[in-house]
């Protein structure tokens, strides 16, 4: 949790001795809060104050970084419980599970297919983040499985097993990488912590209850490993929601350090692929940092990756495209003119439909402050006056040899006013939904 200048001041000696180079302790405290000086510049600060200031300057949810040859994933650093309070910063990583009991050739094939999956959503390429390799016992088999995964993908890995010695065999195949390993519990944590430190890995920590988990993470931290991830042993929707909420609330609202780490969720443990998708939905909306999946299906993964994109969009910044006239499929001056708003999802839906229809057209993207058609209309940002203004501003008339414009069906009510604002123009009403545009264009063409 960020700490204010006043809070820092209370921890300083308050002698105004100027040894730090500032006239007063308060002035020094303000600089410190703004992170413009180091605490060490004050030679008189007590050890206790130092410890408190160090703890409070840590982020409430630690940033965990996974690295592999060419890829990097950052998770954590979250500061709010509800995205509208600021934003959720680092999207949870999606990892697909492979087990070392599978045939290595089959593992490589499966990993290749998942690794190659890319789906475009509003101009963004969505893909998975990596793979989780699970040991079912034998070190040689595990090492072979890790190699088999590496033969199919360069993305970051999570290595999971009960026996640190077996995991060490897998880690030996990941020279120079920063994977996530696990799972440390109250019995085996020391060996896991040593292994993670030796391999620059982050460590998943689990325990049978949240109390035991709260006891365990400080022990590992004291041993010198701070890059931890929490596995609260979720079995269903209800305990998942409760445990994730408790962990995140305590980390943020109470600045409870033992829980100040990202959470790993295993929808992979669901009984059916449908339940897995549903559990992953909850994980994305409710605080998971890593999401481990088992069943790969493009049709469901697409939706989950879009959800992740949506939930982790910064709510302060409406996603906008530049207002203007967009030419689609090389329009000639007789091509139709359609109007929509500059909310990016709206723009992409409409532009994609025109493009896939094969019909040439001009798309006038009005400046509606980044809102969708209906929302902008309700808010008064997408009215006849605005449309007429943008028709002139972006020189629509110079591009065409007719005077007609197509309104989105949802704002058919604007026709009359737009006729007044654009004398001599013919105002047509298009479909309400962009998905119906190709059929409409065929009919007007």
């Amino acid at each position: 949790m960020a700490i204010s200048g006043i809070q820092i001041y209370k921890l300083l000696p308050k002698t105004n001795c100027k040894d730090c180079g500032f006239p007063t302790c308060m002035a020094f405290a303000l600089k410190l809060a703004a992170k413009q000086v180091e605490l060490s510049a004050c030679p008189h600060v007590s050890e206790e104050a130092q410890a408190q200031l160090a703890a409070s300057s840590e982020p409430p949810v630690r940033l965990i970084t996974l690295e592999s040859d060419g890829s990097k994933l950052e998770v954590g650093n979250e500061v709010v419980l509800f995205r509208h309070e600021k934003t959720f910063y680092n999207k949870p990583g999606f990892f697909f599970l492979v087990k070392d009991s599978e045939d290595p050739g089959a593992i490589t094939e499966k990993v290749k297919e998942i690794d190659a999956f890319v789906v475009n959503y509003v101009g963004i390429d969505l893909a998975v983040d990596g793979f989780a390799v699970k040991s079912e016992g034998d070190g040689a088999a595990f090492a072979a499985a890790v190699e088999a995964v590496r033969a199919g993908s360069k993305r970051p890995l999570i290595l999971i097993g009960d026996d640190p010695a077996v995991l060490a065999d897998g880690l030996a195949k990941l020279e120079g990488e920063k994977p996530l390993i696990g799972t440390a519990n109250p019995e085996n944590w020391e060996a896991f912590a040593d292994l993670a430190i030796a391999n620059k890995a982050s460590l998943v920590v689990t325990a049978g209850s949240l109390e035991e988990l709260a006891d365990l993470t400080p022990k590992i931290k004291d041993k010198g490993l701070a890059d931890l991830v929490l596995d609260p042993q979720v079995t269903a929707f209800n305990d998942g929601l409760a445990k994730h909420t408790i962990l995140r609330r305590m980390a943020l609202a109470k600045n409870f350090r033992p829980f100040g780490f990202p959470i790993i969720a295993y929808p992979s443990q669901a009984a059916t692929p449908e339940a897995e998708v549903a559990l992953a939905t909850q994980a994305v909306t409710k605080y998971a940092g890593f999401v481990v999946m088992e069943n790969f299906a493009p049709e469901t993964l697409y939706g989950l990756l879009v959800l992740r994109e949506n939930i982790y969009t910064d709510p302060q910044k409406p996603i906008q495209v530049q207002p203007g006239v967009y030419e689609i499929n090389q329009p000639t001056p007789d091509a139709p003119v359609m109007v929509t708003t500059n909310f990016s999802i709206t723009y992409f839906s409409v532009a994609n439909e025109i493009e896939s229809s094969g019909q040439p057209g001009f798309l006038l993207v009005a400046d509606a402050e980044g809102m969708s058609v209906l929302t902008a209309w309700a808010a008064g940002n997408f009215d006849a006056e605005q449309i007429a203004k943008d028709v002139k501003k972006f020189g629509v008339e110079e591009k065409i040899n007719h005077k007609s414009i197509i309104l989105p069906g949802h704002v058919a009510v604007l026709s009359g006013e737009l006729e007044e604002e654009l004398p001599g123009w013919e105002i047509k009403v298009g479909p309400r939904e962009s998905v119906d545009l190709p059929a409409y264009l065929k009919q007007v063409a």
């Binding site: 509800f82 995205r83 509208h84 999956f117 890319v118 789906v119 475009n120 959503y121 049978g208 209850s209 949240l210 109390e211 709260a214 006891d215 269903a236 929707f237 209800n238 305990d239 929601l241 409760a242 445990k243 909420t245 408790i246 609330r249 305590m250 609202a253 033992p258 449908e274 339940a275 998708v277 549903a278 939905t281 909850q282 909306t285 409710k286 299906a297 493009p298 049709e299 469901t300 993964l301 697409y302 939706g303 989950l304 879009v306 959800l307 949506n310 939930i311 709510p315 999802i345 839906s349 439909e353 896939s356 969708s372 209906l374 929302t375 309700a378 808010a379 939904e433 998905v435 119906d436």
Partner: protein
């Protein structure tokens, strides 16, 4: 270490609302549903009990909706030609409640009529014992023209009439008051607009235990993040005691998701979109569960398979977990 789970203390709660009336209360419904009453953020059992589970409704139409996705029309088959048969099929498919959404036109393209709307509503009430919502086609004048006779014909059934918007709520509220019904208001993704609409409805005379709100949610990939956050903010405001945000939220997930390209069409789409039917059902299911996590009290779906999947999640969420 003994942990004290961090509990929020709230002063407010969501308004409890009963939909449908059995014979004992002057209606003919076999069951009623009760929604709302929450005193925590969704399903935070370690703070307080969740008194009522989210209700899952299926949407049916008065006329076969030729603009619906072929996946839906194929699923419902013949039943979609007749609102009575469709209502029965939807009840058998596991719905807690039905939405009859009235069409703009009949299959021949002629404007819908009060007689036809009344007939469809009566057919639905006769063939199913479930509580009912009835929505107009979404054009102010026609909505009033169709819904007033429907409200008269269903007097005493505690039907939810919709959708009230700021320019078009007086007639619906008046006919709801006259016939013992409820209304749902829809505002475009904005906490204050939702609140203002509730104030208008209340000032027009309807008690708040007969009002639902639809904050407009968007669909997965099409603005769901706005709907999600507006719903979280409305629920937080309700718990903080802001009375005009305390109405239970009814969300039109089927309507929002089945108009997206991902759900509506199976051809000429990128190969990485995968299997059409599974994609469409996932789209509806993911949208529904996301909004339930944000506080949805009534979720209106279109595909029974989505309903089945959402029901499985809700059945589990509504039970208090063991937190060892």
């Amino acid at each position: 270490m003994a942990l004290e789970f961090p509990k929020d203390k709230w002063s407010g709660s969501v308004q409890e609302v009963v939909i449908g009336a059995t014979a004992a209360d002057g209606g003919t419904r076999a069951t009623t549903v009760t929604v709302g009453g929450e005193t925590t953020m969704p399903f935070i059992h370690f703070e307080a009990e969740t008194p009522n589970r989210p209700v899952l409704a299926l949407e049916i139409k008065d006329f076969r909706p030729d603009d619906w996705s072929a996946l839906l029309l194929d699923f419902w088959g013949e039943a979609a030609n007749d609102p009575g048969a469709w209502a029965k099929a939807a009840e058998e498919a596991g719905a807690d409640m039905l939405l009859l959404s009235l069409s703009l036109t009949d299959p021949d393209g002629n404007p819908n009529t009060p007689e036809a709307a009344e007939k469809a509503a009566k057919a639905v009430l006769e063939s199913s014992g479930l509580p009912l919502l009835v929505y107009g086609p979404g054009q102010a004048e026609l909505d009033n023209e169709l819904l007033v006779p429907v409200a008269n014909a269903c007097a005493g059934e505690r039907v939810v009439l919709g959708i009230c918007e700021d320019k078009n709520y007086r007639t619906l509220v008046a006919t709801a008051m006259a016939n013992g019904h409820l209304v749902v208001g829809r505002a475009p993704m904005d906490v204050n607009l939702s609140k203002q609409l509730n104030i208008l409805i209340k000032d027009a005379g309807l008690p708040m235990d007969r009002v639902l709100m639809d904050p407009t949610t968007g669909a997965l990939g099409y603005g769901i993040e706005y709907g999600f956050s507006v719903m979280e903010r409305l629920r937080l405001a309700a718990l903080r005691g802001d009375v005009m945000t305390q109405s239970p939220m009814a969300v039109s997930v089927g309507f929002e998701t089945w108009k997206t390209k991902e759900s509506k069409v199976g051809e000429d789409v990128p190969e990485t979109w995968g299997d059409w039917e599974e994609r469409a059902i996932s789209w509806e299911t993911i949208t529904a569960i996301t909004l339930i996590e944000a506080g949805a009290d009534i979720v209106i779906l279109r595909h029974p398979e989505s309903l089945k999947r959402v029901r499985a999640a809700v059945d589990n969420l509504i039970t208090a977990p063991e937190l060892a």
